[in-house]
Amino acid sequence: MSGAQRAAIFGGVRTPFCRAGTDLSSLSASDLATLVVRETLVRAGLDGSEVDEVILGCVGPDAGEANPARVAAVRAGLPVGVPAATVGRNCASGFEAITAASDRLAAGRGSLYVVGGTESMSNYPLSYPREFGRVLAAAQRARGLPAKVAAFARLRPRSFKPRVAILEGLTDPTCGLIMGKTAELLAREFRISREEQDRFACESQNRAERAREEGRLGEEILPVFAPEEGTNGSPRYREVRADNGIRPGQTVEALARLRPYFETRHGTVTVGNSSQITDGACALLLGSEERGRALGLAPLGYLRGSAYAGCEPARMGLGPVYATARVLDREGLALSDFERIEINEAFAAQVLACLRAFASERFAREELGRPRPLGEIDPARLNGNGGAVALGHPVGSSGARLVLTLLREMRRSGSRLGLATLCVGGGQGGALVLEAA
């Protein structure tokens, strides 16, 4: 992938990331996406006709918007002739949008894409069991009142028990574990203590707080005017300018007081050292260097290479290690080449497990089939503005946010190479290599 057709990223913007059920909860996935897609174009001085396709990641679109990328593209004012796709790779959906566009670019199918991701975890649907749907369908088909009554008579109380998409979505159907349990498994396997996790989480919070205060987060955020929920018909609007998952003055002591959430008796993973359930969207403008020059766009950075790798679903948190190993081989790089690294913080335990696996000779030999470990990661280079523990993890958009944050951090620190990687529910990892402009 390296070479002539590396994809340039010309800029991007994200909404504030807000805890589900708070400031952005009245906006759907496509509402959020509309805002960032439009602003990305406005800031680039484009009217949308220049774009070849809009590709967005989204894991849980609303029932009313089967293809939120298309809804957002039309609503953002792109010409209707510009196609749009919503792509899914669970937690890596934002990455998937980026790599899908860069693959199309490399194949010569287009030269400019709006990519990114969107997620409104507040609006994950509640659904009824299949049985309920079958009964409704049967009742609709039934002719005559007695037949209709008979159809409804098949309903049982359990038919009405709602299925909560957010719970089911965070549970892996192949290994039967909810994501938090996979983190518990990694904590046991790599012997990561509760205290270590809390220290990591606290650092994430403190870094994010500092980044917010110093305006580093503000630079990537588009303030959003969101209607407040519950005022029927004529809601009040509020300006939302900042991420709201950051807990100012977070201390390890405060985190230590939380009860384990997934394994209540002997567990170590708490809501405080896990990522948050969050609403947010992020969009980037990606295209060929040549096209960018023609349009007068200055690149923020380049996507040099990417890789996805699968792993055991129950150890999905180690995905970044497998994917990074693959991308390093492809690009002929070493872990030490990266001056800035973003590992998505699904769980503090999971990131810490990755760091140990990166450094472990045994892991390298047994799991990656290589004689030497990938290397140590200096904590100073990792997640400089904090991560999903503080900012939240709106699943479909996190990948795009990592890239936006990383490119901005690289520019600020004058770094040449950066790595963005994340773990994916279901047992995968994704890794992107980014180059400074």
Binding site: T34, V42, G45, R75, P223, F225, G233, P235, R236, Y237
Partner: protein, 719 residues
């Protein structure tokens, strides 16, 4: 086929001379299509004398031809049916007898359609209004297409006349009196779907299939709902009486008895049901003759033409043009900016919203959401259209997006300094062809534009509060404003359904300048000891929607005072500094918005007299005394004189524009035709005499201007 038809093959207009305005075609299934054609160079079909002649000739040829199995009356193409009678024809009616004859001619013509021996169908795509709908009513069936231009109704009362070609008779016979009266009395033009729901048309069909389905209807192959005739009930005269009385009471309440046409329409509709249609039509023709030659209709028709005439402002060298505004930035989202922004968004323009105060942007979004929500609830807008309109309102607190805006409209504080520095910043960022518009009401456009690069693109667009309701926009040309910029700004006003009025730059432009003397006079009367209630009542009795004191409170005393100060500085001594307003402002009375002004406002918004007012104003306590005579005349005369000055100074192109502005911007009663038309009704000499009397009694503000002196000595005429 051969015996009937010396007619033409389908699809080609007839070549016979009588058919220039009406073409006849037969379909292969022997349905005869009667197709209306517009006068050369016109884009709508109107009923004028040539059309009536052509239709008479066409009927001559098709009556008694038994081989046609049905008749379809339709327009020349999609979006064109029959937009009604030529209004110039009505305007020029002077003699009631002649008017009655004209109505009778139209009635006879439509009666012949009603008597055709085969089923008749009106196939409606496009405007079907007034005489056009009366023709459709003469048919057996009416099919309306879903074409966006399809509008059905009887707008006659809005022009001060009753429907005169059978509408007051056939609609009650179709729907029953109670359901027929609202469309006649409101004069609404209903979109196809609404017309169908109300029963004004029998079916709603896809535009592409209109001809095919109309043919089917004529052949009896289209199942159409059979109407249960409510006529039985209407035959009972007590029922008719009750319905008519109810409608009359309501109309009187709404029109304050100023408009005779709706009352006459109720009367002829109700009495017409008591006998055969011939008698009803005769009553209707008389009512038309009476209303059409009466003063109210003449005034309303004049205003109609003035309003149509205002479209000329959106033209360059006589060629109409469009604003070309697709993306706009509204800077300053207060009451005015917000209102303008949401109208733009509603009409498909993307609007970047800029305001230093995020709360103002939030309130703009709230106001838009409320408006669009109400439109959706009233089915004036589809839900997805409301979403799209909201999406077009784009908060841009950081000022992003200017690079692609075709229009920047500022509605920030009324400070020359602020406006100039704003435009200076904006001017370098927008594309070269972008319009820079200011909503200033008190500053001169010239001063704002001075020193800017390309000042020819700076134009004033003065909207009135509340923007959604007020139909007028003053388009202000500074000395450097290019004709193209002014025309594009006027076109923009038309595109958001406002009437543009081109005015020359100068303090107060036109509307504020003619409004201010009236408000000033109200203050003078207060000082003289007249009670605010009496002043307001006199104005309302004259026909104004609210009195001057109440209007001041509604506008906001701070806003009114700012305008008054500007005028006092520009035109002393006619305009004086607003002393009373300053006193009220000093005690934090801003008018309705602060709960107190001249009046006090309860929680429910009710206006009540404030016993404390004299003390706040520093006036002696008052007691209700006799109300001075001719209050309204004195209130308005200073305005009339100022209006004449505006004509004299060339602030407007024509005197008629002042009349139009007085009605649309000031609330001057439309039935009086406008402030100058009303004042000049008794001649210039009489006006001069009254002005001179008031000049002697009250001072220089009633000084007659040169133009009035010339008019009185007949050395000049009002254009």
């Amino acid at each position: 086929m051969s015996e009937t038809l010396a007619l033409d093959p389908p699809g080609t207009p007839s070549a016979t001379p009588s058919a220039e305005r009406v073409a006849l075609e037969t379909s292969p299934r022997e349905v005869l299509f009667v197709r209306f054609l517009p006068a050369p160079g016109e884009r709508v079909v109107k009923i004028d004398l040539a059309f009536a002649g052509a239709l008479e000739a066409a009927l001559e040829r098709i009556e008694g031809k038994t081989s046609a199995r049905g008749f379809v009356f339709t327009g020349p193409g999609p979006g064109m049916f029959l937009a009604g009678a030529d209004i110039a024809l009505i305007r020029d009616l002077r003699d009631p007898a002649e008017a009655e004859k004209l109505a009778a001619r139209g009635q006879r013509l439509f009666e012949r359609i009603a008597r055709l021996p085969r089923p008749t169908v009106a196939a409606i795509s496009g405007p079907c209004l007034g005489g056009g709908y009366e023709l459709a009513l003469a048919c057996r069936w009416r099919l309306a297409s879903d074409h966006p231009k399809t509008k059905v109704g009887l707008p006659e009362v809005r022009l001060g006349i009753v429907p005169g070609f059978g509408g007051t008779q056939r609609l009650p016979r179709l729907l029953g009196l109670a359901r027929a009266l609202p469309p006649i009395l409101t004069g609404s033009a209903y979109p196809a779907r609404a017309a169908w729901r109300l029963g004004l048309v029998d079916d709603l069909v896809p535009d592409e299939r209109l001809a095919e389905l109309a043919e089917k209807a004529a052949l009896g192959e289209l199942p159409l709902p059979r109407r249960r005739a409510p006529r039985l009930l209407d035959r009972l005269s007590p029922v008719r009486f009750f319905v008519a009385e109810t409608a009359k009471r309501r109309t009187l309440r709404e029109t304050r008895g100023r408009y005779p046409a709706p009352l006459r329409a109720i009367e002829v509709a109700s009495r017409g049901l008591g006998g055969g249609i011939a008698r009803g039509l005769a009553l209707e023709a008389k009512a038309l003759a009476e209303t059409a030659t009466g003063p109210v209709a003449k005034n309303l028709l004049q205003l109609y033409f003035l309003r149509e005439g205002a479209k000329r402002f959106a033209a360059l060298d006589g060629q109409p043009l469009e604003s070309q505004v697709k993306r706009a930035a509204v800077i300053g989202c207060g009451a005015m900016g917000a209102g303008i922004a949401l109208l733009l968004a509603e009409r498909g323009v993307s609007v970047r919203l800029q305001d230093a105060d995020a709360g103002a942007i939030a309130r703009t979004l709230e106001r838009a959401r409320r408006r669009f929500g109400e439109k959706v609830a009233r089915r004036r807008m589809e839900r997805h259209e409301a979403v799209a309109a909201m999406d077009r309102l784009q908060p841009a607190g950081d000022g992003s997006g200017l690079e692609r805006c075709d229009l920047v409209l500022e509605a920030i504080v009324e400070s020359l300094e602020a406006k100039r520095s704003l435009f200076a910043k904006v001017a370098s960022r927008v594309p070269p062809g972008a319009l820079l518009a200011t909503n200033t009401s008190s500053l001169e456009v010239a001063a704002i534009a001075k020193g800017l690069p390309r000042p020819e693109r700076v134009v004033g667009l003065h909207f009135f509060n509340p923007v959604e309701k007020m139909p007028l926009v003053e388009v202000v040309r500074g000395p450097e404003t290019s004709p193209e910029s002014a025309a594009r700004a006027a076109a923009l006003a038309l595109e958001i359904e406002k009437t543009p009025l081109a005015v020359r730059d100068g303090a107060g432009f036109l509307v504020n300048r003619i409004l201010a003397p009236y408000l000033q006079e109200a203050s003078k009367l207060l000082v003289e000891g007249v009670l605010e209630r009496d002043i307001d009542e006199a104005a309302v009795r004259f026909g104004l929607p609210v009195g001057p004191i109440a209007l001041l409170d509604d506008v906001g005393l701070d806003v009114a005072a700012a305008a008054a100060r500007t005028l006092a500085a520009a035109f002393p001594p006619r305009f004086e500094p607003p002393r009373l307003l300053e006193r009220l402002l000093a005690s934090q009375r801003l008018g309705r918005k602060s709960g107190t002004g001249f009046y006090r406002y309860g929680r429910n918004g009710r206006r009540v007299v404030d016993p404390d007012l004299p003390r706040v104003l520093g006036l002696p306590a008052r007691s209700p005394g006799p109300v001075p005579q001719a209050l309204a005349e004195r209130l308005l005369l200073a305005s009339v004189l100022e209006a004449l000055r505006c004509v004299e100074e060339g602030i407007v192109e024509r005197a008629g524009d002042v009349d139009l502005a007085s009605v649309l911007g000031f609330g001057f009663p439309p039935d009086r035709g406008g402030i100058l038309r009303s004042a000049m009704a008794d001649g210039a000499e009489s006006l001069l005499r009254r002005a001179s009397e008031l000049r002697a009694r009250h001072g220089v503000r009633f000084e007659p201007c040169r133009l009035l002196l010339d008019l009185a000595s007949s050395k000049a005429t009002l254009a």
